[in-house]
């Protein structure tokens, strides 16, 4: 089975290693949905063996760890409930993880397998730097600071109580440049009233030096501070700071939670690097991005879009053109389709390119900002006709139902029906009048519309089903550019006794939207489908998670197109 290569099943100390025996022993109590909430330390060094603690609930019956590569091997060292006697006890699983020296650094999801089923995943970070754990004892003051002996290393720590700040001590030479990064070990949580996520533990980093304050000779003086410069829903809030030390001497680093939280789950790692290093990029999305400013608009996009619509390659060539800046005698004339690109280097600059429309046509305009995205670079795109009249912009406008106030939001894509032949000008500028820079680079694709399936969202992470139990998976997808064909959803690799059905689910009626302008130009039509997974009464229990594959394909002209979205979902059939 493919699952065997995917899953490392290991024995638990003191418990028989046969999975079924362990299950039988552990299922006398009512089944609780197992979940994991934190890992400490969550960063592991290549070629080393490390002991980690996984905290969560419903983990008493853990008997295996599920890792995506054979380069990681886990062995359970024990399970305990901490602290005993409180209302919501937390289970702690001690795992010994061995990382192969050849394993590539990166993020690897860890799940635990228990008698109640498989858990959610939390990432393990593998690094080629030495990883040092916080020594026992308090380190919440300069005189108890943890020494930074190695300047290229990862220091794993935890803020065990509210208001705790961990101090590190290092020596630096005048002019020395170092980069520090604090990464939170806690996943983001859902934002109230929103589909977006917000940080649960937002680390903050401060560099301090000896102060010589008149009031307190031991006071430390802040020389640098980082909290991420932007707070944007869904964006990571880890701290990153590159600093050039002015003086040779002793410095301290202070790591704390932005909002002063703390507890056994508040694990972090502090990465210390010599020299200047950019922040670790956020994990790249693995699914299709239709409307992100950071998606890559390659010349091959037309082919990709056609495939997502179940259509053959249109065979169109998209050439690149440089837009003319403010003050240029004439802006370039471009064909359709075309890629227009440029850099808003000076505040207030407007770039332009012209095209001739011979006959009515529906076009799409897509915007990419490869280096700086909103809210830092906010590309405002307008399409104006020969008389200077604005035909379209990438600002979606609304009008508050109560106050009548205008609300506008910047979009990375818009579709425009052009009915009047003639010359049109594409204008690009930064939304604000004051900001510009060499990294205010944009790429805009101007192209005919290609009906296709846009973003697909599958809301399941893992499944634990008992016999006679059924659960749903919601699959929603966007119909882009007037895609009017069908969409096929299939489930593969179901274990015996588990079946998949098409179904329906109740969808809460949203509040009536505020008066909105030409919404259809900016937002796709979204549909939702429901897949029901059901375990028969005689479904066989699964000792290990089975990897379901949920596949989405366009259905065009009576033919199934290629797979455009795919998700693997661990599933276990467990005792009721």
């Amino acid at each position: 089975m493919r699952i065997q290569a995917w899953l490392a099943v290991v024995g638990i100390a003191g418990v028989a290693i046969h999975p079924h025996e362990s299950r039988a022993q552990a299922t006398s109590a009512k089944r609780a949905e197992p979940s994991i909430q934190s890992i400490y330390p969550f960063t592991l060094e290549r070629g080393k063996r490390s002991l980690i603690t996984v905290r969560g609930s419903g983990l008493k019956g853990v008997y295996a760890a599920m890792l995506p590569t054979s380069g990681l091997r886990a062995r359970t060292r024990g399970v305990s409930t901490q602290p005993p006697g409180i209302k919501k006890p937390v289970d702690e699983v001690q795992l010994q993880i061995e990382v192969e020296a050849s394993l590539a650094p990166g993020r690897y999801p860890l799940r635990l397998v228990t008698t109640s089923g498989v858990t959610n995943a939390l990432p393990l970070l593998v690094t080629d730097l030495p990883v040092l754990s916080e020594p026992e004892g308090a380190h919440d003051a300069a005189d108890t600071a943890i020494p930074i002996a190695e300047k290229s290393a990862v220091y794993a720590g935890r803020l065990l109580r509210r208001g705790e700040a961990d101090y590190y001590r290092l020596e630096a030479r005048a002019g020395e440049v170092m980069t520090f990064e604090v990464v939170s070990g806690l996943p983001q949580i859902a934002a109230a009233g929103s589909a977006a996520t917000v940080p649960n533990f937002d680390p903050a980093l401060t560099i301090l030096e000896a102060g010589a304050s008149w009031f307190d000779p031991r006071r430390l003086r802040r020389v640098a501070f980082n909290d991420e410069p932007a707070f944007v829903f869904g964006r990571l809030t880890d701290a990153h700071l590159t600093h050039r030390f002015e003086r040779t001497g002793v410095y301290w680093l202070r790591v704390e939670a932005f909002a002063g939280q703390g507890g056994p789950d508040y694990s972090y790692h502090l990465k210390v690097l010599a020299g200047e290093h950019p922040p670790e990029p956020s994990p790249a999305p693995t699914d299709w991005q239709e409307r992100s400013f950071s998606r890559s608009l390659t010349p091959a996009r037309l082919t990709l879009l056609a495939a997502r619509g179940g259509l053959p390659d249109p065979g169109l060539v998209m050439e690149r053109y440089q837009a003319a800046s403010t003050g240029a005698p004439q802006s370039p004339r471009i064909p359709l389709p075309a890629m227009v690109q440029g850099v808003i280097e000076k505040p207030g600059q407007t770039h332009r390119a012209r095209f001739q429309l011979e006959s009515p046509r529906d076009i799409a305009i897509e915007v990419e900002t490869p280096f700086r995205a909103p809210p830092f670079f906010n590309p405002l795109v307008r399409l104006v006709n020969a008389t200077g009249e604005e035909i379209a912009t990438n600002l979606l406008v609304g009008k508050g139902a109560c106050t009548g106030a205008l609300t506008k939001s910047l979009q990375a894509k818009l579709i425009v029906p052009l009915r009047e032949p003639g010359e049109y000008t594409l204008e690009v500028r930064e939304l604000t009048a004051d900001h510009a820079g060499s990294n205010f680079q944009y790429r805009i694709q101007l192209r005919p519309q290609i009906p296709h399936v846009g973003q697909v969202r599958i809301d399941a992470d893992h499944f634990n089903l008992a016999p006679q139990e059924a659960k749903t998976i919601r699959v929603s997808f966007d119909r882009e550019e007037n895609y009017r064909e069908g969409v096929a959803i299939s489930v593969e690799n179901l274990p015996p006794g588990v079946s998949a059905h098409t179904g329906s689910d109740f969808i809460e009626e949203p509040d009536p939207p505020e008066p909105v302008g030409k919404r259809e130009r900016f937002l796709p039509k979204t549909e939702q489908a429901t897949v029901v997974l059901s375990a028969a009464q005689d479904a066989r229990l699964t000792p290990e998670p089975v990897r379901l594959r949920l596949l989405v394909r366009p259905l065009t002209n009576g033919r199934l197109g290629p797979v455009i979205a795919e998700k693997e979902i661990p599933l276990m059939v467990v005792e009721p």
């Binding site: 919440d140 003086r221 944007v232 002063g260």
Partner: protein, 832 residues
């Protein structure tokens, strides 16, 4: 004339002889009467060698070389009669003084006009004050603009009648004219103020008065507005002679008021205005500008002319000191302050003691008490420059950065609900403040960054109260309050009732903020030459005047033309103008001054208006100039202030300054702000405060790191604190920034609250550590005096405290009670 001369001679014979070196002087020094209705009040002064003045107007005789050129309207008041030039001679007890007189007739019509004579009469008679028809809605169905700010509108209301409405230009009710051109004597404008018909405002005009005759003549002449070919000049400024009125108890002085018009002319307005002393218990003023001292003190006299409001400071002094001693001056601040004190015959207090200065300057510059070892060191030092060195050390300390970041977080309103409902955004805004405080960036740059901030800049977060772009009117009024020290809010709905601000000026300023928009986290100014889908929802980008409903263009309030481009940042242009305007530096130095003295030179510090004049206008101007000359650096300004002897005066009063609260003749005790007080309690007891992000328990509840001081907290809505709420920390949601009035809960908290009680003998506290180290009672008492009050106990205090401790029986309890008593004392809770 002969009679006048005779009376003058008699008066002169009754008065005191001229002192040695006294010279007779006439005011004004040059008289120009422009037009047949012009007049000039005269004043005769005896000026002594030391510059002091004594008015002898009523004892002076006046002679003109060409008497036919003028009319005598009163014993010391000239009126124009014929064009020409002559010399006026004043004689007092044989002394003579001369001034030239020029009379120019012509250029005005035979009949009075509304824009000139009638408006002045309405103003002088109090008809257009805010308490009467100049109120927001007018009175009795009759509306006039306050102080005749809008003559054309007033004229229309009088000639056409009708009810005024605040939010619309539509006329309410039937239009009944207030003048009757067919029967001028029956005009309501005349019958009401003479009480010929009922008038809620009482009798304002006698039927046989000159003003009545002028108004009647005006109606008879067809009630003209003015001469269309010669528009009436507008008042641009009022000046006063003397600019500062100083009177002994029981003294009198004639005030001269000169109006300066936009055509460059000047005119005596002494009899064309209405006088209102802010405190009539100190001075009274007759309708013709004669000021009479009532009791010792200082007050402003508000002077309202048609189209303008001004004010002058008047003070009543005690007996003249036989010999006013010289007080050393440390810098220009002292020159201004001490010179006024001398004029008011107030002696400044002595220089503060070292301990007094040490505690005061530490609290004022850093919000922190000096630790006992530093107090000992400072008090024992014989270095003559130790105060200057201390000032530099404090200004360079991290505590200074903490403290002034907190101060400006108040002023700039750092709080989650004012910064987009996001703690991250309030944090970035707070960090921006901390950064410029730490780097001592020029304050004009700070102002420009805040006013004009765009995009995702930290300062732009303040445009997002409750996660919305604030209304242009609110945003503008706040920027003007913070950076220009003016409160324009009243003018939002109507012309300002007490000021010269009009509703048009308000909305012209607000229009600079009308293009403020938000896209996600980004603040930007909507270009006016781009629709950007606005038409898609039938929206409009225009800011409409709330009353006229007409689109408003951005215009600064002095009408200076500013180049605002359609797609630029209009606030950047405004910010440049604001920071170059004289108001900017004055408002900034006044705010900072207020922190160090407990009151501003204009107080409240953000309420500059002509009816609330500065107590020391020359000092304010000098501070503002020095601030600008030194690159608008706040540290320089603060250093200048605290180095002055004025700042370093003792709080202990002398006989002459016991009642003085205006003139900085001594330090005034000021209650410590909530955060500073809490930090002081923590410093003295040695037990840090715990600041939690919520009262309830929960996974997301956080705490500030151990040892965090109250002034280091970012915003009041992140960290709950019962103590800080009780003692009035600023919510940062309203003006004034903090209002810490004493209340009963504070007293109860002192008696039983955890801040005062639980800390005293907690493990790790200062007291517990001293006891554990075996310190004697005397040592402990001394240590706490130094920690809490920055001084050694007086011998009597020491003796009494030690006796009480000995009598108590329980040493530990007695010492705890002693510390509690120290912390509960006014001396501890105040900066003095």
């Amino acid at each position: 004339m002969r009679m006048r001369l005779l009376l003058g001679l008699i008066a002169a014979s009754l008065s005191a002889e001229a002192g040695a070196g006294e010279k007779l002087r006439i005011l004004p020094e040059r008289i120009v009467l422009q037009g047949a209705r012009a007049s000039q009040q005269l004043v005769a002064l005896l000026v002594s060698a030391d510059g002091s003045e004594r008015e002898v107007t009523s004892e002076t005789s006046w002679q003109l070389q060409q008497p036919n050129l003028v009319r005598w309207l009163a014993p010391a008041r000239l009126g124009a009669a014929a064009s020409g030039s002559t010399m006026l001679t004043a004689t007092w007890r044989g002394q003579k003084a001369q001034v030239p007189v020029t009379i120019r007739l012509g250029g005005e019509g035979a009949n009075p006009t509304f824009s000139r004579e009638i408006l002045r009469i309405l103003t002088k008679r109090g008809c257009n004050t805010s308490a009467c028809h100049g109120g927001v809605k007018g009175r009795g169905g009759f509306k006039l603009s306050a102080s005749g700010l809008y003559p054309e509108e007033d004229y229309e209301w009088i000639l056409q009648g009708g009810g005024y409405q605040v939010l619309t230009p539509e006329v309410k009710g039937e239009r009944i004219p207030r003048v009757d051109l067919a029967n001028p004597e029956r005009s309501l404008l005349l019958t009401k103020p003479t009480l010929t018909v009922a008038h809620g405002g009482g009798k304002r005009l006698e039927p046989d008065s000159e003003d009545y005759r002028t108004m009647l003549a005006w109606v008879r002449a067809g009630a003209p507005f003015g001469d269309a070919s010669r528009p009436a000049p507008a008042v641009m400024k009022l000046t006063f002679t003397p600019p500062l009125v100083v009177l002994p108890e029981g003294g009198e002085r004639q005030l001269l008021v000169t109006a300066h018009f936009d055509n460059g002319q000047q005119e005596d307005f002494t009899h064309q205005v209405i006088y209102s002393p802010n405190d009539p218990d100190i001075v009274s003023v007759s309708p013709d500008g004669r000021i009479r001292a009532q009791s010792r003190g200082e007050t402003a006299i508000v002077v309202r002319a048609a189209g303008w409001v001004g004010s002058v400071i008047a003070g009543v002094t005690g007996p003249r000191l036989p010999r006013y001693p010289h007080t050393p001056r440390a810098n220009f601040i002292d020159q201004h302050v001490f010179s006024k004190l001398e004029r008011f015959q107030i002696l400044p207090s002595e220089l503060s003691s070292d301990s007094e200065f040490l505690r005061r300057v530490c609290l004022d510059l850093t919000g922190a008490l000096p630790p006992p070892e530093r107090v000992r060191e400072f008090l024992s030092s014989r270095d003559p420059n130790k105060r200057e060195k201390l000032i530099d050390a404090l200004i360079g300390s991290p505590e200074f950065v903490d403290y002034w970041t907190w101060r400006f977080a108040d002023v700039f309103r750092v709080a989650i609900f004012t910064n987009g409902l996001s703690s991250k955004w309030s944090q970035s805004y707070w960090e921006w403040i901390r950064d410029w405080v730490e780097k001592d960036l020029p304050y004009d740059q700070v102002a420009r960054e805040r006013i004009a901030s765009q995009g995702y800049e930290p300062a732009s977060r303040h445009f997002l109260p409750y996660n919305q772009i604030g209304p242009p009117a609110d945003v503008m009024a706040e920027e003007v309050r913070v950076f220009l020290g003016r409160r324009l809010d009243c003018a939002q709905c109507h012309n300002h009732p007490y000021e010269n601000w009009s509703q048009d000026q308000f909305w012209g300023m607000a229009a600079f903020f009308s293009r403020l928009f938000r896209v996600g986290a980004v603040v930007f100014d909507h270009p006016t030459n781009m629709d950007l889908s606005t038409k898609d929802v039938g929206g409009s980008l225009e800011l409409l005047h709330p009353r006229t409903k007409q689109p408003v263009k951005p215009v600064v309030f002095d009408r200076t033309p500013l180049a605002v481009t359609a797609d630029g940042n209009p606030r950047r242009v405004l910010a440049e103008w604001m920071t170059r305007h004289p108001y900017f530096a004055e408002a900034a130095v006044n705010r900072i001054w207020g922190y160090f003295f407990g009151r501003g030179i204009v107080d409240p510090v953000d309420d500059f208006r002509s009816t609330n004049p500065p107590t020391h206008p020359e000092l304010l101007a000098a501070l503002a100039k020095d601030f600008a000359d030194h690159g608008y650096r706040l540290r320089h300004l603060m250093r200048t202030i605290v180095r002055s002897r004025t700042y370093q005066l003792s709080y202990r009063p002398n006989e002459t300054n016991r009642r003085d609260v205006w003139n900085y003749s001594r330090a005034l005790a000021r209650a410590l702000d909530a955060e500073v007080l809490l930090d002081a309690v923590v410093d003295v007891t040695g037990i840090p405060e715990t600041f939690a992000t919520a009262v309830s328990e929960g996974a997301s509840v956080g705490e500030a790191p151990r040892g965090t001081r109250a002034v280091q907290l970012r915003d009041p809505d992140t960290f709950y604190s019962r103590f800080l709420e009780l003692y009035g920390r600023a919510s940062r949601g309203a003006v004034p920034e903090r209002n810490a009035k004493p209340n009963l809960s504070q007293a109860l908290h002192i008696l039983a609250g955890s801040t005062y009680v639980d800390r005293l003998q907690a493990p790790g506290s200062r007291l517990e550590s001293l006891l554990r180290a075996g310190a004697s009672d005397e040592k402990i008492v001394e240590e706490f005096y130094l920690a809490a009050l920055a001084r050694y106990p007086e011998p009597e205090e020491r003796r009494e405290v030690l006796e009480l401790i000995a009598k108590r029986g329980n040493r530990q309890a007695a010492l705890g009670e002693f510390v509690w008593a120290l912390l509960s004392s006014r001396e501890f809770a105040e900066n003095h």
